[in-house]
Point group: C2
Chain length 451, copies 2
Amino acid sequence: MNTGDQALLTDLYQLTMLQAYADEGMDGQAVFELFVRSLPSGRSFMLLAGIEQAVDYLAQLRFAPAELAWLRSAGRLRADVVDRLAAFRFTGNVDAMREGSVFFANEPVLRVEAPIMQAQFVESRLINLVNYATLVASKAARCRLAAPDRLLVDFGLRRAHGAEAGLLGARAAWLGGFDGTATVLAGQRFGIPLYGTMAHAYIEAHEREIDAFARFAASQPEMLTLLIDTYDTEAGAHRVVELAPALAARGIRIGALRLDSGDLLAHARRVRRILDAGGLSAVRLFASGNLDEWRIAALLAAGAPLDGFGVGTHLSTSADAPFLDMVYKLQAYDGRPRRKRSEGKATWPGAKQVWRTHAGDGSLAGDLVALRDEAAPGSAASALLHPVMRGGQRVAPAEPLAALRAHAAAELARLPAALRRLDDAATVQHYPVHISPALQRLAAELDRAAH
Amino acid sequence: MNTGDQALLTDLYQLTMLQAYADEGMDGQAVFELFVRSLPSGRSFMLLAGIEQAVDYLAQLRFAPAELAWLRSAGRLRADVVDRLAAFRFTGNVDAMREGSVFFANEPVLRVEAPIMQAQFVESRLINLVNYATLVASKAARCRLAAPDRLLVDFGLRRAHGAEAGLLGARAAWLGGFDGTATVLAGQRFGIPLYGTMAHAYIEAHEREIDAFARFAASQPEMLTLLIDTYDTEAGAHRVVELAPALAARGIRIGALRLDSGDLLAHARRVRRILDAGGLSAVRLFASGNLDEWRIAALLAAGAPLDGFGVGTHLSTSADAPFLDMVYKLQAYDGRPRRKRSEGKATWPGAKQVWRTHAGDGSLAGDLVALRDEAAPGSAASALLHPVMRGGQRVAPAEPLAALRAHAAAELARLPAALRRLDDAATVQHYPVHISPALQRLAAELDRAAH
C-alpha cells in the first residue's frame, strides 16, 4: 500500500484552513518551527533523524488526480479550492539541523518559511516523519552507549507500527549507531548492512536439531549463525560442538550462536564454557529477546560473554518513550513574530537559530536559542540550523547515510559524561539550553501587547 | 514512499531459511498460528484488527523485477534461488477470527497452512500488520468503554509511527468504536467519517482572535468548530458569544468549541457557563490534548460538560502498551504437530480452533482452545476461526468496514462487566481460557518424545 507520498496523508484541518486562507487572500510568508517541548521521561538528549524524508516529502508534494477527484466528491472543500490544489507545490525555504545531531528541548530542529498555505499544510506529515525517526535514532544511540564495542542489530520490523516504521526505523537505528538490520528492504533502499540468523520454526521443522544445524550450514556457509534455544540451550551448544568438526572438514566455519530465551547471563556463561571446552572459542555469542539499553547494560555489567545483541520491539517502538512532545508552531507571519500563549504550551516567538558551544575537550558545553537575526554569540559558537531547501528546491544533494551515521557517532562522543549515562527519569541530567535576552524581551513584548 | 506491498519488507532470515528449505527439498505443509503469548499489563482483552490487510498482503505477494535484481546483486542468496522467487506466490489456506472480535492470550487469531517456504516467509509482515492494528483497535475500544455516548475522534496521525501507522491506526480506531478521524487519507481509502477543527497557527496568523473565528466561520460554515485556547480559554469563549449573533444572522451555526490545554475540567465548566449565559447552549464542547481512556474517564466521572474528545498520540501509539507479545509459530509440519519448548516461550502444538461459550445474557462465559480436529465442546460453543483464504484465494470478498465495526461494538457489549473496567495492571481481570484435555495430552506426549 502506497501511503507516504500522498498529499491526503494529512489532517482534515490542514485542508479546511487552506480553504480559509485562500478565501481571505492570506498568502503572507509564515515561519513555522519544528521542536520538542520537553524531552520524554528518562531521556537526557535526543538524536535527530528523519530530515531527509521530510525534505523528500516537501520536494515531491502534489495532489494526484485521483486525490483531487476524491476531494471534489467528498464535498468538504469547495470545488474552486480543489481546482487550485492541482497546482499546489511547496516553494518555500527550509533550514534544519543535520541528521545525527544531538538536540534538546525547545530547540528548533527544522524551520519552514513559505506562504502560509504551504507552510501550514505540511505540519502533519513533517511531525509524523521526524518524531518517529528521532525516537528510534535516540533509542539506538542509548543502546550504543550501553554497548560501545558490541555488534548491535535491529530486529524491529515485526513489532514496528506498520511498514514505514519498519523501514524508517531500520534507517534511524543504523544512523544512531547500530551495525545493521534484519529488514531486507532497508538494505535495498538505504544500503544498510543486513544480518540474519534462523527462526525456531526452522529447527522445529526438522526431526532433529542437529540435522537442522547441519543443513542450514550447508545452505548458508557464510556468516553462519545458529539458534540454539529451541529445546534446551546448553544441549544445543553441545550439538554445535559435536557438529563443528564435520562442518570444518567442509570448510564451513560457525560464526555465532544465538540465545533468545531464559536467563541470558547464565546461558551465555554456560554456552561460552561449552564452546571453549569444545575448541570453539572463535564462535561468538549473540543474544536477543526483549532487549533494550537497560538489559544490555545489565548483562555487560555482569560480565556476560555476549558479543552482540539483536534489539527488536523496544527499539522499533521506542517502547519506554513511544512519542515525543514534538510540535510545529507558527513563529512569525508576514514579518511579525507570533506567540501561542496556551497554558503550559507557550512558544518562543520569531524565526530562531540554535548556537552551540563546545568545551576545550570538544564536549558540548551549552546551547543558546536566539533570534535568527541576532549576531553569533561569540566566535566559538556554531550555528546548528543550516539551509536545506530554497524556493522549494534542495540546496544540495542528500548526504550519504554513512556520513550522517559518522556525524551521529561524533556527536555521541561529544556528549558530556553526565548525559551519556542511562539515567532513569528521576536522575536525568539536564543540559544547559539558554534563551537569548533578545528572544526573552521579544516574548515579553508580545505578551504585553496582547489583547 | 511505497513500502507495504514489497516482498522485501521482511527479515533477512526469511530469505535465508527459504534458500535452506529449497536446498533440502522441504516443501511439506506447515501450520503456523498467530497469537499473543500474554496480554500487555493493564489489558483484560484485545480487539482484533488488521486481518484484512494481512489477507491483502498474502493475496498480492510477489517479488517485483527490481527486487529480484537487487537480490541478485546483493549476493546473500544464490542466483538459482533468486530465479525461483520470480514465481513465488502464496497458495495456502488461511483461517482467522473476524476483525472486531475480542480475544485473549494463547488464542490463535489467524492460522496459515501452506508449503513451509510460503508459510514461513510471511511471518514478519503478518505480525507487523496485525500487532499494530490490534493495539490501536484495543486502545480505541477502551476509550469507547470510558465514554460510551460521547463523540470520539482519532487525532493520531502526527505522532503515529510513520505513514502506514497513521492510516491503519485511523482504520483500527474506527473499527474499535471511534466516530471518525482527522486523517484525510483514511477517509479516502476506508470511507471513515472525517472531522477537523482549526490549528492555533490559524488563530495566531490573524491580528485578532475574533477575526480568525469570523473568517473561518465564513469559509467553513458547516460542522463549524472553533479553537478557543490560543491565548485565554474563557476570553475565547466570550468572543464566541460576542460573534454568534452576527454569524446567526448569516445563517451560520457554531457547532462546537475545542479546548486543548490547561485544566480541561475547570475550563469546560467555565466555558459551558459562559455559553449557556450567552444563549449558546446548543454549542458543544470538544476536548483534546494528551488524552487517553484514563483521562477521559476521570473527566466524565468528575462531570465535565464535554461532548466529545480528540484522542491522538496515546491512541495511535497505544502509548501505555506500544507492543503486543504477538508471535507466529510453527504448530505442525508435514502432518506432525510441533512444539517449541524454549524457557517461558513454550507453545501449544498442532492446528487449533478456539471455541467460545456465551452466558444466558449473551455475555462471554469462557473460551476453549482445542485441537482443530476435536469435536465441538457442545452445541452452545461457537468456533472463532473461520476460513478466509483457500488455495491462496479469498473465500469471500472483504467485509465492509462498517460491518466489522458493528461486530466490534457487539463484542464490547458482550464483555463481562469485570472486563469492561479500565483496570490497572495490578487488578486486571482474567477471562477464563481453557486448554482442551486432548491438546494438553498432545503437548505432554511431544515433551516425552523429545530427544
